[in-house]
Subunit: 381 residues, 2 copies
Amino acid sequence: VDAGGASSYRPTMTASWTPPIGIPGGTDTPDLVVDLDVVESNIARIAKEMARRGVDLRPHFKTHKSLRIARLQLEAGAVGVTCATLAEAEVLVAAGITDVFVAYPVWAGGAKAARVRRLHELGRLSVGIDDEVAAGVLGEAVRGSRARLSVLVEVDSGLRRSGVGGPDDAVVVARACRKAGLQVSGVFTHGGHGYGPGAAEKAARDEVELLRVVGDALADDGFEIATRSAGSTPTALRSAMGCVTEERPGTYVFGDWQQSVLGSCAPDGVALIVASTVVSTAVDGQFVIDAGAKTLSKDRPDWLPGHGYIPRFPGALVARLYDHHAACEVSDGAARPAVGEIVGVVPNHVCPVVNLARSLTVVRDGRVMDRWPVDAPARNT
Amino acid sequence: VDAGGASSYRPTMTASWTPPIGIPGGTDTPDLVVDLDVVESNIARIAKEMARRGVDLRPHFKTHKSLRIARLQLEAGAVGVTCATLAEAEVLVAAGITDVFVAYPVWAGGAKAARVRRLHELGRLSVGIDDEVAAGVLGEAVRGSRARLSVLVEVDSGLRRSGVGGPDDAVVVARACRKAGLQVSGVFTHGGHGYGPGAAEKAARDEVELLRVVGDALADDGFEIATRSAGSTPTALRSAMGCVTEERPGTYVFGDWQQSVLGSCAPDGVALIVASTVVSTAVDGQFVIDAGAKTLSKDRPDWLPGHGYIPRFPGALVARLYDHHAACEVSDGAARPAVGEIVGVVPNHVCPVVNLARSLTVVRDGRVMDRWPVDAPARNT
């Protein structure tokens, strides 16, 4: 991630910052505890903001991978769901959530050909595309279907991951799609270069500008560009303007430490905390919790000093992650919890953390209401 | 990880280094492809080396999480299995693999109390301990069982993660165990500070020395120390000497890029490769594959430059991981694969990669023999 030259940036950790999530008694750790009041408030807030702007909301499924939460988002007005893989789309479509955009440059060769075709025939599928050859393969996969498969051309607004670089390349890809029998219905981008301190404002402008230039070029070339879709939680509210018709944020539903530091998530917007138990204080200057890399993941942008944030011990640095241990360093003389205490960790990036879990412990007012399955863990193909 | 001052170390990537794993046709990517011939050879080699030294082998389950592979290890002479969590132990015991050591400072409070007790009554369980208070809680959990629960005192040989620092603290913890009705049957350590270029030799010496000093102190205090157990793939062959009675390597069964660079795994010892498809070449100077952080994990020691190694494109740097993309950078003019090509990636650290998967595609001579489940994915509690 290009953090805008902010590699020396250190977030301020304040003792007053406490997400409003109580860890219920009897929790077997490590466990993901989700406050449903906060989830609902996050869903309602973004839905309202998008409605006010007249912009469609198509939240990303990869954050929560929960059919229950996807339905809450749809009930709050989302026009459909975004996902990253065919396997996620299969989980959604099988559950009756059929308006699905796979925001990924799908290569529909091999085993994926029949899977794309089946999803297209069962649901209202659209997929991303950034390559002429891939367009031909995708067209071949759905040849002879009752309807044309909708595709959105991916454009790179600055992340330098995937997506064509500008209008000329977009026209080449769109024409290849048309030739392959696909329906070019829009353009999309992911302003992921906004994941850095102070970087979101420019990334949002980049998204809007690219979607305008590339969308207009395709329209000029005779394509009916109904959708101009931007994504990412840091940029979602900033780029929902001008030509943009749709936003695809994901992380907003739970929030995380990264979004908190970036200012895209208020302290009271953190809806998920990792409950963990202190298992060792044998080594001086630290305590060890049972949420390791197989729970918290090692996702850490270089502008965050640790592997999560512990609100009850704001001076503790989640310094080193092993598969099943996190060593949390405290400065000389600072308080540390005792062995056996349960502490909550706000994860750096919530998406891979949910992917590592099997269920979410759902609470309201600190009381367990339910356990919801993670419906699409490790659905990567 | 203390890499022994080697943060500027860069491994040599040579075009000639190719693990002998063919990716079978029809693979739906991303997928983990395991060469069973190599697995069997790795298992046989370490079993033979340990037998020659008269040291027991108790391989770590967390690497493969496969009951099939655990049985291969036991058939080759392993005395039992090591695991990290009660949930892993439950999978093993339910499958009839009952001699299980949980090499972890288990806090047996809350929901874990009944689980520890049940495992102890069903199998031949032993667990790690490094704390007086935790010893009391563990003793309470198994109070009244037909037999005493076996515990091994964890000692810190230099990793600074968990484990008591020396003989005096070990005696305190062991006495607390005895008072709690537990059977102190040994000491164990994990020389994880050997995970750095040139660091294994010293880490192995540290393991042997600590197990000697602490084991002798406990013996002098009247404890019957039957087991002095060391762990880690880099140190396993080096510390299997002197007072050490048992080794607990895990990664040796598959190997990975980290172990290859460290010299603990020969090129022909890499048994697992991540099959991935090139999904985008839209951005100059790179290609993007569909094995992202949710497949490869973000495990990267600072002495490895990228997030894996691609034998067919040895000059490519797996530079940036996103949840479902890896951007692989190539130097100007260097070859890059075309969109749709399938390439194999040797992961940095294989343990979290297997944990992210649901199954292993098992091959011999490049032909698919079977798909084996990952039997204990995300069993973190």
